[in-house]
Symmetry: C2
Subunit: 252 residues, 2 copies
């Protein structure tokens, strides 16, 4: 996991965001991934004020800072990255797909600088003037659709995906709760018991081609029995044996 000091090196900057719900969604995604520095550049104070006054507004929104211009908002950052949906506009900046971009951002963070991630308005994205403050651009790889001239993503979702990618490498916890496999000896006991059941139930007589020892062993191995499940299966098979041996007769 990134520590809080590292997370605080990243500033999410919303430029001309129009929809208060989107600003709220951005703040929520930041909170989810542990980022705290939200900056807002907006001529109109209304969307930000509305988002901030929402009932479930987060600490991130409470701590957000308003700036009068992109230049002011990025002034203390050593790396400024713009986000773009790669429309028809000719790009004047280097462009990285998000996975590579995140690697570059991590390097910049390791050098100790503050990194600005700029997101433009829902409708138009970042203007050329706003993009001119950026060292380079990143884009989230998306599917090209013939019906859409400008593929674009919902603002809250785009921020969530970008921040996920930034913490992705550091947040992996491997296979929690993947059950321990049964030991080979237990699998062998299970195989023996199953073999007995197949014989006693007449399956072996009906399908002899399925029943040589190695075939049954492979069949049981492919179950991938968990250590904790082995006694359960043993009990099930023993119960079957009991039944076919005569428990049956008494029950009926």
């Amino acid at each position: 996991m990134l520590n809080q000091q590292q997370l605080d090196q990243v500033c999410v900057i919303l430029v001309r965001a129009r929809n208060p719900n989107n600003i709220g969604a951005v703040a929520r995604a930041m909170h989810d991934f542990g980022f705290r520095n939200l900056r807002v550049v907006n001529e109109y104070a209304v969307p930000f004020a509305t988002a901030r006054s929402a009932v479930d507004a987060s600490e991130v929104l409470a701590g957000a800072v308003e700036f009068g211009s992109v230049a002011d908002a990025v002034a203390d950052c050593t790396l400024v990255v713009g986000t773009t949906a790669v429309g028809e506009r000719a790009l004047l900046h280097p462009l990285h797909a998000l996975p590579e971009a995140a690697a570059e951002i991590s390097e910049a963070m390791a050098r100790g600088g503050r990194v600005a991630l700029l997101f433009g308005s829902e409708k138009t994205g970042l203007s050329n003037d706003e993009l001119s403050h950026c060292h380079w651009l990143l884009t989230i790889p998306m599917q090209k659709h013939e019906d859409l001239r400008h593929p674009s993503m919902n603002l809250g979702q785009a921020v969530a995906v970008c921040l996920y990618e930034l913490v992705r490498e550091t947040g992996i916890h491997v296979g929690v709760g993947v059950p321990a496999a049964a030991e080979a000896g237990e699998v062998e006991r299970l195989t023996a018991l199953l073999t007995e059941v197949l014989e006693k139930t007449g399956y072996t007589r009906r399908h002899p081609a399925n029943c040589d020892e190695a075939q049954i062993r492979r069949l049981v191995l492919r179950m991938g029995v968990a250590a904790s499940d082995a006694p359960v299966w043993m009990g099930i098979l023993r119960q079957m044996l009991w039944k076919v041996r005569g428990g049956e007769a008494k029950d009926e």
Copy 2:
């Protein structure tokens, strides 16, 4: 990129989603990343009907299929993966963080099966009964906050992040538009011209410690001049030289 056949192997299944806006956001994220199979399991038809009737409802919503139960919704899938925010509930399933989960899902897709990705209701997530249909669970690695008992993510954002991870590896396009670097010979000409400018402007006399040849060369190399920018810089330096040599005198 995954081709459409591969993308169509994935079914996003929303179980008891309550908010029509969230259902719409899920459909939008699916469209962005090229997925088309949306399934909805809901006792109440209202949220889905409302989402579907939205003005900007996508093709994905139009093609979504309703099911009466989780069992029916996953019946044709060979791998069923539940999503969870890992709250206080004891987990009865193996759990993978999203990056590993995506690798396992890709393997299942390569074997030709259909994969179900289940998302529970915004408020409660998937119930234990719903989870019992899953082979294993995935979780999006998030920051632990002391103030939240159950960390959870907005439904639309969670789906966007999961689908991004599925196409992530396949969608990388490397450094589009990263400009070609200038050749060393051009950098050398630039260094020579800058040296001349420094001498003519008196900088070398004032700061001799900064001006040995190797220092100036390293300074220019650190600019990382793009091939297309080299002539621009040459022009700027030539103009400076012209000015300090006498163009100046005529202008004044």
